[in-house]
Symmetry: C2
């Protein structure tokens, strides 16, 4: 059977099957060559499949399991004691090449650990990283690592940069993506040891390295790819989300202030709609676990249907562009061409 096959961890996320299944089915209808394998409790999944046409139903299968990785599960428990979880079985399907990618809105730490254990990293990649596209004033930026690793060495950040460059090239069609290193100032003197040493490696990397990018520069669109360690990247990501949510809440607060502002707020609806469309976190949902031999896409745990569907589309795009194979090919060449770069 031709086409793309995806495994969906139906049980992941705050809402489980009632969001993941309808969301993935929306994408199924958009893509006539897409096949979906839902992994999870079939008694919770099946009700959402009843509305499918016979042709659609033919492209959907269910792998039944009742074991679930919860948001509170420790990584070690999820990895060692939940070998029949929907998350684990979905990743296994990628490993067995039954499907080309999997999508989960579950526990990030568990997803990363299980993916790494089952799928392994590329030969020249020490660690996977979490990468996502974020909106900027001029378009979007790919940022990594967003939290897979809490301690990183300079050569890890170099590898993140190499992987990010490939992804921006193939997903966005940018010939030489601009690579920036997240730092607290643009001057040479700033930054900690990790940053200074990484800066030296990036200068010799052959990548289109443009130097340091500050936190605000990320959102000004100064670079196509921004590299940072996972601790800092996660803080930057969550802080940004926090501010965006706060601003949305403050706008609502201003609108509900009195009768006049309520009226004006209602009139200005087209503006809010346009803004929501541009800024909606859902539009940017779907982070990649790059560096693995297979494609694993992490959805935000609180994703609604539209957001989760977006994460499924990210998986399809990565499958179509064959991202892991390109990363593998590029890094193998890089490693043999400049053996002492790392």
């Amino acid at each position: 059977m031709t086409g793309i096959g995806l495994a969906i961890d139906a049980m992941g996320g705050d809402f489980g099957p009632r969001v993941t299944v309808p969301a993935a089915l929306t994408v199924l209808r958009e893509n006539p060559s897409l096949r979906l394998t839902f992994v999870g409790d079939e008694s919770l999944i099946d009700p959402f499949l009843s509305g499918l046409t016979a042709g659609e139903r033919f492209r959907v299968s269910v792998v039944h399991t009742t074991e679930v990785v919860t948001m509170d599960d420790k990584v070690a428990v999820a990895l060692r004691q939940k070998k029949q979880s929907s998350m684990r079985l979905a990743i296994n399907l990628v490993h067995q090449k039954t499907v080309s990618a999997c999508v989960s809105a579950g526990n990030t730490g568990a997803l990363m650990a299980i993916s790494r254990f089952v799928l392994k990293t590329h030969a020249n990649i020490d660690r996977p990283a979490i990468m996502a596209a974020l909106p900027t004033m001029t378009g979007h930026v790919h940022m990594l690592d967003l939290g897979a690793n809490v301690e990183s060495e300079p050569h890890h950040l170099l590898q993140f940069a190499q992987m990010g460059s490939v992804v921006a090239e193939v997903l966005d069609g940018i010939e030489r993506p601009r690579i920036g290193l997240l730092n607290i100032g643009e001057e040479e003197i700033k930054g900690n040891d990790l940053i200074k040493q990484t800066d030296q490696l990036l200068k010799q990397s052959g990548l289109n390295y443009i130097g340091y990018v500050e936190g605000d520069g990320v959102f000004k669109g100064h670079a196509d790819v921004v590299v940072c360690d996972g601790f800092v990247g996660n803080i930057a990501l969550k802080s940004s989300e926090g501010v965006a949510k706060m601003m949305a809440a403050k706008i609502k607060e201003e609108i509900s202030r009195n009768v006049l502002t309520k009226l004006l707020g209602a009139l200005a609806l087209p503006i809010w709609k346009g803004l929501k469309q541009q800024m909606d976190p859902g539009r940017y949902n779907g982070a990649s676990l790059v560096g693995l031999t297979g494609i694993v896409i992490k959805s935000h745990g609180s994703a609604d249907e539209a957001s989760f569907a977006q994460a499924v589309r990210v998986a399809i795009k990565e499958v179509e562009k064959n991202v892991p194979a390109l990363i593998h090919a590029r890094l193998t060449v890089t490693a043999s061409a400049v053996p002492d770069a790392i």
Copy 2:
């Protein structure tokens, strides 16, 4: 002469005297007991003093110097070779107790280094930190360190927490400020070694420590004080500023999309005004260099008049509340009560 005396580094910031002098004079008119000493090139400062009444002029003096620390000056150059700079002389006035505080919009690294060299830290404080109030959904949060130190040890973060607690207590009148530690997850297992060790110190500190706060939790108002190392804090701050600016730009973009949206945007003006008032970075301008024996307030370099005036008001508030003396007193007690806490 009674009242509060402040030194203003008139030459600092992107705009120099044409912003710093009128801004500080606005605050002078608000506070009949305030005296100002402008430090900088008198030929650039004097023109702005001509509109003062005789009574106001009596409360203003000028210390003339033509040497200036530029935004591009390396810290070592600013510290060792520019001993007659407006920044240095303003800080000297604090040290000599000619004034009670100084305000500068100049080079942050230079301001920190010179302040530390001239004023020194309190006996039980190893390093100063940059602390500022940021808007949250429920009010504001004090966050530190925002960039004074790029490498920190757990006991430094403990000291930041102790200082932040005192400041939130005296400036906001909160009896037992909630202290949060910035981390990438709320679970015990997350975080790097610095975070885990600091967590242990904070648990034994006697402070009202509430545990980990994530990037988005900062803006949800989960804590009164959020502690982090300077590298992470600066990235979080700048990223947040970047997102806020991007959202403001996107709103403008949506409004200017067509004639209808322009009209609706104009009608919705009261909403924008309310939002701007709440979110205006100027409203939160004025970061403290805490841990020093004197008060030094850092304004954003790009501050306009309204923003710089706000930084001057922060200085006045810290003088009135006698912040450094309280930090000194509290940390001396803490150090003798729990000698092995650090």
